[in-house]
Symmetry: C2
Subunit: 450 residues, 2 copies
């Protein structure tokens, strides 16, 4: 993309309404625009990152054997009356009537709808296990929306639902989700720690929240410092293996890690004092096992091996896709702006032309641009007639992890400058070397947007 | 994907509520499930095709230089009051109040919101031309939703908006959209004819609808038969070239082709009688030029070259993404089911194992499966213990364009059978030849879903 032809409305001033850094930087970098309280337009740069995050979530869910589909945003109230949640859900549920006076609502979650699809189409235990999921816009009418996309009203969420014959199978599904979520967050450059949590209106006993440590987090968290040394890394896992998934669960949940909702002071005090941490965290996902709560209410049964109708065991599993942009920025920025992890960056590399209009500099930038697009990488080429300082400030603000600076002086010596956004370190090399290095860096981070 | 692990709830019986073939086949092939009148769940197979169509639309819009972003589904009523459309829009607009009693609506279209983003961020003619677009869920509260996704209430739509300094520039944007739409539909295996139409509540004088000829179409159309001989084909086009885009517009719109809304009997009679066609068509897109209607109402101006505030010239341009599934099926099916064009098929090839459990047949199927996935093609392998007849019927119903049949008898001779869904013709060849042929067929039709 050439910046002169893109729509990147960066702001010079800090917007006064933004209280936290991710909100401020998303507004300043031209990623979002508020349309109503807690409701945002996703401007081109924001939409691009949103789509990358969405696709990583899809890829990891599919890898785990879960099947994507999509529910409508609007639902009939009847199904929620059947499950008993319609009246109790409270004012966070946005309700409306259609032109025929039928009660409808904007989906805040979709246990009912997925259970309805299941009961309509699945009859036998032979069709289990089954995990269906979607990524779709949700609405929760927060009384005080704030912190930008971190606590918006309309938000983009992955929600998945497992249907299993037995509690054991459902707990394997729970573990499988835990593993897939660990992989998902790591691909986005995040450390998200599973912590024992409270199940809230979803119900059920077993639930973990995934929290990214950040000063601006909405939850107080208590954990054993050792847990931050764990990484999933490159290990291969067989998602069908009960033992392998169980082992990962145990590895990642055996140390003390809880949100304030479930914090147990006495248990926490058993952790050696020097490892006891109290901090704040941003919730970026949650997994639940809730047994037959919804299958019982909605009559979702299958014929069991004994020929008798059996209520299926279920769980639901969410990732806050739009909120993740905020969480990533909270975890990865400096005074100059965002620092995108390679896995989610909107463009792979920035190209800054120090002297737009100079024949050699222009030609060198074009050649770099074409080299990247030819291998499927997306450069953002700042081809505007601006001062170098302004171009650097924009690149730093929008946070591309790598920048190539091209100027007449360097070209005389046959070199350009490759700069790492995170360290600020620069290195001179030939354009060919710069291209090769960028290709190498992104080899493990290829996500197609469209 | 292995069918035993997929969620493909095909129906044996014809659902009574479906009046047209695409609705019937989408229900029978397990692509959608109705949740309320005109509101559908997109089951895995349906969602997969929806995503492919979406990605083709994205690719062609980006190729034309248009910039993707995304608006919220819910909007404040205030903006629509400002444009003067809130009261007039009528009962098709779904209105609601949030918990604070603020009037909101579910976006039926987004002229207001895009104009609002534009006026907030663009100040100078130097930032033009600019075309922004989104693909997002919309809602129109049709009084009698019918024909499945063809006339649903919640639907997925691409809507784009061009902002230009002059009428001439805006007409070039109009032409650019026309060209990109021709390419888009052809990639989906559709012939969609641009026809002069009526602008309705969007407003403006210049508008063309794109219609796919089909007996079940909602519009009566009148056209010169010669127009059906035109194809866009493989031609290269420079979207920045006013002349090239204008030439395509002229080529595709100089012959008589109108919907009943704008039909002119006298003009039509000037077409030689043997070329005069009266038929029915399905609307799959529409482009508009409406000048300064919204920029004037909402105060969207830029500083012109003369330094004075100038209202921008606009148009809007829509493609009915979810409706396209219905249109494609109406245009491409037979008595046995859907026949997907290669560009949008949910899986590239079906693999039917005639004797599941036979060691050699199983191994041959697995080898084929792995050969396809290794090159990024997606096979659907029917690995169920079913009769061959049932497997063939399912493959025909869901409409994969190519099927490989593997059985012990053929394998003795070193061959499998490759069958074309459209012609029904089969050919025996080695597994390696079958893989090579499928790779060759799909070379021009690669669309990544995630």
């Amino acid at each position: 993309m050439r910046l002169s032809r893109y729509f990147l409305p960066v702001l010079k001033e800090n917007p006064s309404e933004a209280q936290i850094v991710s909100h401020r930087l998303m507004l300043r970098a031209g990623m979002i625009k508020q349309q109503s309280a807690g409701i945002y337009s996703w401007l081109p740069l924001g939409f691009k990152v949103l789509r990358k995050i969405e696709n990583i979530v899809h890829q990891e869910q599919i890898r785990a054997g879960h099947i994507p589909m999509q529910m409508p945003t609007l639902q009939s109230a009847d199904l929620w009356r059947e499950s008993g949640r319609y009246d109790g859900y409270g004012e966070e549920m946005l309700r409306m009537q259609d032109r025929h006076g039928r009660d409808m609502l904007f989906s805040p979650t979709a246990e009912e709808l997925f259970t309805d699809v299941f009961r309509a189409h699945v009859n036998s235990y032979k069709d289990l296990p089954l995990t269906l999921y979607q990524i779709q816009w949700k609405f929760r009418d927060e009384i005080r929306p704030r912190f930008g996309v971190m606590r918006g009203r309309e938000f983009y969420m992955k929600d998945g639902y497992n249907f299993d014959l037995t509690k054991e199978d459902a707990l394997h599904a729970y573990n499988r989700h835990l593993v897939s979520y660990l992989r998902t967050y790591e691909r986005m450059g995040l450390q998200a720690i599973p912590m024992r949590a409270d199940s809230g209106p979803i119900g059920g006993d077993d639930t973990h929240e995934f929290l990214v440590l950040a000063e601006t987090g909405e939850s107080e968290v208590f954990y054993d410092r050792e847990i931050t040394d764990l990484t999933f890394g490159e290990r291969e896992i067989d998602y069908n293996s009960v033992e392998q998934c169980q082992a990962v669960l145990e590895e990642f949940t055996s140390r003390y890690a809880r949100t304030d909702e479930t914090h147990d002071e006495a248990l926490f005090n058993e952790v050696p004092e020097e490892r006891r941490c109290v901090a704040r965290g941003i919730e970026v996902g949650q997994i639940f096992y809730f047994g037959t709560k919804y299958s019982s209410a909605l009559g979702a049964t299958v014929q069991g091996p004994d020929g008798k109708p059996t209520e299926v065991h279920m769980g639901s599993h969410g990732i806050g896709v739009s909120r993740l942009l905020g969480a990533i920025i909270e975890a990865s920025h400096d005074d100059n702006g965002i620092i995108w992890p390679e896995g989610v960056t909107p463009f792979h590399v920035g190209i800054v032309n120090l002297k737009q209009g100079d024949e050699e500099a222009d030609a060198a930038c074009e050649a770099l641009y074409n080299s990247f697009t030819a291998v499927g990488l997306e450069p953002l080429y700042d081809d505007r007639k601006e001062r170098a300082g302004g171009k650097f400030a924009t690149m730093d603000l929008i946070g591309l992890p790598w920048r190539i600076t091209v100027g007449p002086r360097g070209l005389k010596n046959g070199v350009v400058e490759l700069t790492c956004r995170r360290t600020g370190e620069s290195e001179e090399m030939t354009p060919e070397q710069a291209v090769a290095k960028i290709i190498e860096i992104y080899a493990p981070h290829r996500v197609n947007v469209f």
